[in-house]
């Protein structure tokens, strides 16, 4: 691997930051949505489910534009959030938002599958022992779905590390601010003779994600053993 330029290191650092935040922040939301979809019976469930899958269905560029329209400085949501000091537009937070949105369906699906696999009779048992539905979720369901949460998180992290289309469309490709690894790779691929540089970045990206993947597998195996599977 050739030595990376400072700009490339910036992209690496930013991608890590973006992916970690995208994963961590969307995780609780994903758990909630997965719970609603797995156990809820409410009007509009199909709609919610569709909405969650939207970023998967749409070409990433379209998702990026939608984010731009909604969360841009002048967008209906973006302008409101800007007043309380939250700015996504052309900011690393926007890259995290894009990555989070793109990864969201993957995360929700993994967690939802895990929730659906939990034996509802255990939750009933917790109920008879005095645990409210929320407490039951916290002390029975949640620990039992940790493998699924981990799977969802690692999928989301990997996806966030690779997300390009929506990110570059939403927050552009500003070095040090919104230039993630994939955007940097893209930029290198747009000009002649820079394939080598692109390849180094690909290697860094793969190394990071593989590391995370292996760590998550080891963790998952340990947890599975604890749960007694």
């Amino acid at each position: 691997m050739s030595v990376l330029t400072p700009e490339a290191w910036q992209a690496v650092a930013l991608s890590l930051r973006v992916s970690v935040w995208a994963t961590l922040v969307s995780l609780p939301v994903a758990i909630l949505v997965a719970l609603l979809l797995a156990r809820g019976h409410f009007w509009g469930k199909s709609l919610l489910n569709g909405l969650v899958h939207l970023p998967l269905i749409l070409p990433p560029v379209v998702t990026g534009y939608m984010l731009l329209i909604l969360f841009g400085r002048r967008g209906p949501i973006g302008s409101v959030l800007a007043e309380v000091g939250i700015v996504f537009a052309f900011n690393w937070t926007g890259a995290a938002l894009a990555a989070g949105v793109m990864a969201f369906p993957l995360m929700v699906r993994a967690i939802r599958l895990s929730i659906e696999a939990v034996d509802p009779r255990l939750e009933e048992a917790a109920g008879t022992l005095g645990a409210s539905r929320i407490a039951t979720f916290a002390v029975v369901t949640l620990p039992l779905i940790v493998p699924g949460i981990l799977a969802g998180a690692i999928l989301a992290f990997a996806k966030a590390m690779g997300e390009f289309g929506a990110t570059i469309t939403f927050v552009s490709n500003i070095p040090g601010r919104t230039q993630t690894l994939p955007s940097a790779i893209y930029a290198f691929l747009q000009v002649p003779g820079e394939e080598g540089a692109a390849l180094s970045l690909v290697a860094v990206s793969v190394a990071i994600s593989m590391g995370a993947l292996i760590a998550s597998e080891i963790l998952a195996a340990r947890i599975a053993r604890r749960i007694g599977r």
């Binding site: 400085r73 490709n173 500003i174 930029a187 747009q190 000009v191 002649p192």
Partner: protein, 231 residues
């Protein structure tokens, strides 16, 4: 303090050299966001913090000008490029691009790699050129459209497509392809990279960068990458 430049992705190497030179000379820093012209233009429409926009085609610059998003009197055409016909075979014979040229025959069942012919500038220029040569309808079914020029170039370089149409700048940098013809300038609209300050800019350095970019000092840096500098 930091000039934010939104520039078409194909300018990456040249513009980075220019930015370095500008920094040497003035101490100013330019941060350049490279992406597709359309994406950048839309971002400017959405209020992106860009000071300078350099587009790979005239259309998006026109759109921004209509929307009053660029300062019209700072708009200038900075660079020009040409499109060429390239072949995967290093021994391919040169082709004379005259009206009625049998490109379909040349392809011999293979594909002609281009950028998206209705969407991406290089593709639009190529389609115009083939149309004016009167062969577009013959060739059209054979065309494989990539989402950008570099991808079209890669298709030829990998030997997937025997021929392709790309910018001269891209062809020059790829040893695996052979330029077999250059499209005459009169077969397509001028291939021009316009640049301008955005109306949102409040950075006095931005104008300086724009001027430096179109100054003789920057010219060799662009030319090194194969661009023609418009005086």
């Amino acid at each position: 303090d930091e000039v934010v430049v939104f520039a078409a992705a194909s300018l990456k190497n040249a513009l980075e050299d220019v930015a370095d030179a500008w920094h040497e000379e003035t101490g100013g820093t330019a941060t350049i966001s490279f992406a597709g012209s359309s994406a950048l233009a839309r971002q400017i429409q959405a209020g992106a913090p860009a000071d300078v926009f350099i587009s790979a085609n005239v259309g998006w610059m026109d759109t921004l000008e209509e929307d009053d998003l660029i300062i019209a009197d700072t708009r200038r055409d900075v660079l020009a490029n040409s499109i060429v016909l390239i072949a995967a075979d290093p021994d391919a014979a040169p082709v004379t691009l005259e009206p009625g040229v049998d490109i379909a025959g040349l392809l011999d069942g293979g594909r002609l790699a281009m950028a998206l012919v209705d969407a991406v500038p290089a593709g639009i220029y190529g389609k115009a050129a083939l149309t004016s040569l009167g062969v577009w309808d013959d060739v059209a079914p054979q065309v494989a459209q990539a989402d950008n020029v570099r991808a079209a170039l890669a298709l030829v370089a990998r030997g997937e497509a025997p021929y392709g149409i790309v910018y001269a700048t891209d062809a020059a940098a790829e040893p695996a392809v052979k330029v077999v013809a250059t499209f005459p300038a009169d077969t397509h609209p001028p291939i021009i990279y316009p640049a301008a300050l955005t109306t949102g800019t409040d950075d006095p350095d931005a104008a300086d960068f724009l001027d430096f970019m179109s100054s003789p000092a920057a010219a060799p840096l662009f030319e090194r990458q194969g661009f023609k500098v418009i005086e």
